[in-house]
């Protein structure tokens, strides 16, 4: 059986699954319940100066009957008194000494940082996470993503916190930026012990067609919110992978964004995450989803022969390269299984209208389309639209030619 326990920048956790800072980690009772069910750690709902929230906070992105493929929120940091949070953190750590409790923090001045770090350390936290990511409300006050978007400021504030903190400091990044590597390197330069990403993406989730107002509706108005949930996973995976392959990023990464089941977690780990954080999926279905995640990840590791999480952190990021490094002589073509095809012809229309017109309906007898493999550019589109698992496969074609990337191709052109 695989060993799921991790040591993340000195923060020990029985498994790599942490609850992300948010509504799930708003109180000691919630975090205790989550730990009982198997969660390895929790990043407490961001602590800071008192705030007031509005009524109606979330909007959902549904797609063809699937609820919450994405979630949008305009919630601020905790609206509970700091004293209460600290008391509950202390109680949770006492009951669950082996689990990871990380305090997410967001304040402004150096003094405030000094004070709040001391308080959460006294409460027994295993680490702190600097919330430089919140893209709504707090950034208007010069905090959250306002910091995450300014690498210099980010580095400086991280530096302060490292002066004050004895426990590991993680920096949580915002994805609302051109190149994620810049704030990532800034965090390393500020001497952070780890990086968490992504926080939510600036968004408007939909518009009420009768009240002419975006969602979520707050008394006739709305505001931009932060987008998260399954829909943001591809963006998050890219950002995690981009940091993981960057030489200057030498500190561990906590992967966040759309993690909903064991497969997502495994993907984040392969792209370079040493722990994963979950928010939307557990908001949707409850803490109980952890059972499936732990079991699925453990079975996956056993099936691949990975004994520990470290055995496969970043294994996929190594194959994540620039376009110019891809092999131009690698070729594939679509193949349709006559036995599995149900004759929906979705592949035909997709290739004909949006591909390269190489699927034809002239097959003898019946609705099974035919691929003209000579013309096929191997784009995958038909296999992606096909509703039947395993029906359209992309078959490798041996070109007999050696590996050649774009740069080499350019050189060969110049020679010719």
């Amino acid at each position: 059986m695989a060993d799921l326990s991790i040591d993340f920048a000195g923060i020990k956790s029985p498994n790599p699954f942490w609850l992300a800072s948010g509504p799930l980690t708003n109180s000691g009772a919630q975090v205790s319940r989550a730990f009982e069910l198997g969660w390895g750690g929790a990043v407490w709902k961001t602590l800071g100066e008192p705030v007031v929230n509005v009524y109606s906070r979330y909007g959902g992105m549904d797609y063809r009957g699937a609820k919450i493929t994405g979630l949008n929120n305009i919630e601020l940091i905790t609206d509970r008194p700091l004293e209460e949070n600290l008391k509950e953190i202390r109680e949770v750590k006492k009951r669950f000494p082996g689990h990871a409790v990380i305090a997410s923090l967001m304040v402004e001045t150096r003094e405030q940082w000094r004070e709040i770090i001391k308080q959460v350390e006294d409460a027994g936290c295993d680490g702190i996470e600097l919330n430089f990511g919140c893209p709504h409300g707090m950034c208007e006050r010069g905090m959250g993503s306002a910091v995450g978007q300014e690498p210099k400021v980010l580095s400086e504030i991280t530096g302060w916190t490292k002066e004050f903190a004895a426990i590991p400091v993680l920096v949580k990044l915002t994805p609302n930026i051109g190149n994620i590597v810049e704030p990532g390197i800034a965090a390393v330069r500020g001497k952070a012990d780890g990086i968490s990403l992504i926080n939510t993406i600036k968004s408007i989730v939909g518009v009420d067609l009768d009240r002419f107002t975006p969602y979520p509706y707050v008394g006739g108005r709305s505001t931009n919110g932060g987008y998260c949930g399954p829909a943001v996973k591809p963006i998050a995976l890219h950002m995690v992978g981009s940091l993981a392959r960057e030489k200057e990023i030498t500190i561990p990464i906590s992967g966040i964004g759309g993690v909903s089941d064991w497969r997502d977690a495994a993907e984040f780990i392969l792209m370079g995450a040493s722990s994963v954080q979950v928010c939307t999926a557990a908001m949707h279905y409850g803490f109980r989803i952890i059972e499936e995640m732990l079991e699925g990840l453990s079975d996956y590791m056993d099936s691949k022969g990975f004994r520990t999480i470290a055995d496969f952190v970043g294994k996929g990021a190594r194959n994540f390269v620039e376009w110019g490094d891809l092999n131009l002589n690698y070729r594939i073509a679509a193949e349709i299984s006559k036995d599995l095809c149900i004759g929906c012809q979705l592949c035909y229309v997709a290739c004909n209208d949006g591909g390269h017109q190489c699927i034809h309906l002239d097959g003898p007898g019946g609705r099974v389309p035919r691929v003209e493999q000579e013309d096929c550019i191997g784009c995958n589109l038909c296999s992606l639209v096909c509703p039947v698992p395993g029906c359209i496969t992309m078959k490798e074609i041996d070109t007999g030619k050696p590996y050649m990337n774009w740069k080499e191709f350019q050189k060969s052109l110049a020679r010719a």
């Binding site: 699937a66 089941d261 064991w262 497969r263 279905y285 409850g286 109980r288 989803i289 059972e291 499936e292 079991e295 699925g296 079975d299 509703p387 039947v388 698992p389």
Partner: protein, 448 residues
Amino acid sequence: MKAKTLDILPEERLENSIPDQKPVFSEMQALAEAHRCFYCYDAPCTAACPTRINVPEFIRKISTGNYKGSARTILSSNIFGLSCAKVCPVEVLCAGACVYHGTHQEPIQIGRLQAFSVQWAYDRDVQFFGKGAPTGKKVALIGGGPASLSCAFELAKLGHEPVVFEKGRFPGGLNTIGVAPYKLHSHVSLREIERVLKIGIEIRPGVVGEDVSLDELEKSFDALFLGVGLGDDSRLGIPGEDLSGCWGALALIEKIKIGKEFSPSSLAHAVILGGGNTAIDAARELAKLGVPRVTLAYRRSEAQMTGYAHEVAWARREGVFFSFLVSPVAILGKDRATGVRFVRMKLGEPDGTGRPKAVPSPGTEFEMDADAVVFGTGQEKRTAFLEKIPGLKLKGGLVDVDDEGRTSKSNYFAGGDCISGGKEVVNAVAEGKRAASSIDLYLNGGRN
């Protein structure tokens, strides 16, 4: 005890010609259905399952591609996960409780999803559970049906040594030789049982009470479990019922399941007597085997049938004709049955079961041609056997047990049809499991 072995299942069986009514889902079907599940919290389907399988969890695992974990979730609650998936009347159990009913949409096909996951694991020979550290305690289980086997499995997991005594040709009781072939073929039951036995359960052929005495068992075992089920078909005591061409429903079904000597193709009209699920099963099986006319005759009206409404609906679709408020008075014929004399009935005052009594209307007798008459009128209880156990309290011919499967004798436990009078396989499995915990407590010197 004579050294006997259990039989080998004949390759050619009548049941082979009856196809599976709910074939195992393809991956595509399973995924589509799993994605429909809402993953309810404190789910009514789980509460409706006698073995409390965590249904939403195993379905969620299908939807995340974690088929192995899905099978683990199922089998950790119910070691007959495949049989139950296929034979459970899900319409009145898990799927009957599905919240989709509240939206007037089809409930989740829980049985078929369950069969998908368990079959996936069986195809890959995944073994989830092992024998516990040996405790040195031996338990005899009388009867090799689902109740005893589920009890034996739990005991083996806890490290005890279970020995199952079975008098029939095959293990599995009615799960092997009784349930309708369109739900489960006998070889599928036997294959699942082979997996159950692998944990380390010994089966000894022989009749307890004849080949081996209860005294002997009490001496050499630390505890005993009664899982003897019910007995043979009961008859009505009407003239002509022993003529050739008259069958007990169970005896007939057993012929269909594991034999081939019975020949349905020569029959013109089969009349099935009774209103329960066994009668409906017999009628549907004969219809599927090609008997041109099949009539189910019941003495009360449709509303009072104990057979499930969904089964009645299936039977009608398959061409079974229902005749209500008629009661057989005699079977006609010289050396073999040629018909049934019925009397018409009226509904009267409620009886002990709360259903209206059926009372004959004098002067309404009539005759119906039939070349096969099947008695689906109930199973005998094993009272004669049970009465021989000194100090064992019975209740209406069934073993009297408390909420934890304990009998009036401290070293005897019981479960399955011999305590319930006839429920479902899944109840037998649940009761076997429950008794195993009580036996474990007893063997560890706990309260009893």
